[in-house]
Symmetry: C2
Subunit: 343 residues, 2 copies
């Protein structure tokens, strides 16, 4: 991947914080490569980066506009195309992670050719994918799973990588979504992979490793999301994880985009994931719960973590607020003691 940095992050006309999660993820985890954000007057959201026009961003060194917005289905709305054209006119390359490809938008490809700009479609899977073998492989792998979409699986994964690295344990972030790929510079855009290759793509993304390090694999979707559960199950089987961390947003009132669907019970969700994971990884265990408590005060967040942790007999934390040390203690305890914890 050769996307030129620094980035200008696009928010556009978005009003839903979840819709800009790609831009926000990059701002949070790679702030040093972001010169600013682009948003229209009707966009109430901000990443606390300088608000810049395309021309100002170019003046400040930006090379690429990251169209870091996501909508279900991944289509280009007309205002996005207009902004993309203006950004190229101003001097920026484009990177996008929608299902529809920049390369398939004649207006955009025409302008890119005329202006000499590069187009990066992060969500385009490799044409050389293979069917999973399910063959047992060596190495330590942790997969983040969720009660729903957009409940902090990428954030938790990156926090775990950072925490392990700080403890001197080798850890690699294995990205499976567009934001993660833009952050890591590599990965598999799993939601765009042909259905037959879901598990195989993950076997390739996190191959056998012979050191004591960990692959921290970014989860996608949820076994309980009626739109995307197939992706989650294929990912679970391909990952062959030794360890699972369950991510959850306690403020979520229903499954994302689906008012008719309640979130699953945490214990039931964890049990279902462990049962399914055992098909390819018989000794898989749960090592923690990661909550997104951003909607509540710190005292309430702490109490909620304690309550949920006690009820599931697992470390429970908000990675951003309280760190991931408790989860890492449990994860690494197995290696130190040689005793397999029972989830």
């Amino acid at each position: 991947m050769s996307i030129e940095t620094p980035y200008l992050l696009y928010l556009g006309h978005s009003t839903d914080p979840v819709e800009i999660k790609t831009s926000r993820g990059i701002a949070v985890f790679r702030r040093e490569i972001c010169v600013g954000e682009f948003r229209h007057d009707d966009c109430p959201l901000t990443l606390d980066l300088p608000r810049l026009t395309f021309a100002e961003a170019v003046q400040q060194g930006a090379k690429t506009l990251v169209l870091g917005i996501a909508n279900a289905g991944g289509t280009f709305a007309k205002p996005v195309i207009e902004d993309a054209l203006a950004a190229m006119e101003a001097g920026l390359d484009l990177a996008a992670g929608l299902h529809q490809q920049l390369a398939d938008q004649p207006a955009i490809t025409g302008a890119a050719r005329r202006l000499g700009r590069k187009l990066h479609d992060v969500r385009k899977p490799s044409p050389d994918l293979r069917v999973a073998t399910g063959a047992p492989r060596t190495g330590n792998r942790l997969l983040t799973i969720g009660t729903d979409c957009s409940v902090g699986k990428m954030y938790s994964s990156l926090s775990l990588v950072k925490g392990l690295t700080e403890r001197g344990v080798t850890a690699d972030f294995r990205a499976t979504g567009q934001t993660g790929i833009l952050i890591a510079g590599a990965g598999v855009p799993l939601d765009a992979v042909p259905a037959d290759f879901i598990s195989g793509a993950i076997e390739e993304l996190a191959p056998a490793r012979s050191d004591a390090g960990w692959d921290i694999i970014e989860g996608q979707g949820s076994l309980y999301h009626p739109s995307f559960a197939g992706v989650s199950l294929g990912l679970l089987h391909g990952a062959q994880p030794q360890a699972l961390v369950l991510c959850h947003n306690p403020a979520r009132e229903h499954m994302r985009h689906l008012p008719g669907y309640a979130l699953p019970d945490l214990a039931e969700c964890l049990a279902a994931n462990l049962a399914a994971a055992r098909l390819t990884s018989p000794n898989v265990r749960a090592v923690g719960i990661a909550l997104d408590t951003s909607s509540m005060g710190e005292d309430m967040a702490r109490r909620l973590c304690d309550t949920i942790g006690a009820s599931l007999d697992l470390p429970c934390t908000d990675p951003h607020r309280f760190g991931v040390e408790a989860i890492l203690d449990k994860l690494l305890a197995k290696d130190e003691s040689g005793i397999q914890a029972v989830a």
Copy 2:
């Protein structure tokens, strides 16, 4: 779809009966549109159709060579390409259901252009797929599920459609694989659909219906197959089935292509499918077990059906050998009595 019939069915150099299941499926269910089979001397398999050369087939009216062979991963081997070129030279169009597209093989597209032949890639999904909504929809839907791949889900589905039709009940076969699509003339090549759209593609394939008829949806893979379970789960959620029929091959010694993986217990497999299906179809019930008993004698087959049926308290049959009347009785009993059976 405008694939010209009659077909010549391709067996090539295949030695594994499962590998030619697309050709065999067409021969079994649409024998009237097949003029013959093409196989090399090292192919011990036959569909009991006349063995013809390409030239003989053209003389007898064949319009299209169906490359009805399947291998994991779906690639074109060199001998297949050579045969395809010879078939076009002789006057035949080509239809194929592999992951790799005829349209992406320069030698084949070049010859097709030069000779004026048509190429049909049955496994190419629509570019206009949508994410599933999970919204409840009206209509009767039955989904065939399996303990493994290639255990008779398509055969059972077609048998159920035939049986319903004979009873005067409207029934539509909803194809999800290349063979089914070639038989039905329409459908969704589910294994090639981008992962995010698995369930959405099925919602479109079997939309709400307001009559008393049934959509019989062809299942794919198995929740217990580590390569393809994601496809199966997305299909289960998108189908919103009122009824499930579990398909199984009692002679199978391990999961297809995976000697390290045992087949699941039937009761466990059925329970897991019902539990997962309830996410989008809370009243789903099992209505039968369909066995492929082709490897055993009739007495043993009958006894096995009786034993398994008794242990699961469901009608159990081999659709080809013993018909599907018992399953249809249970399926339609609900409509007649208004009493919801408990699976």
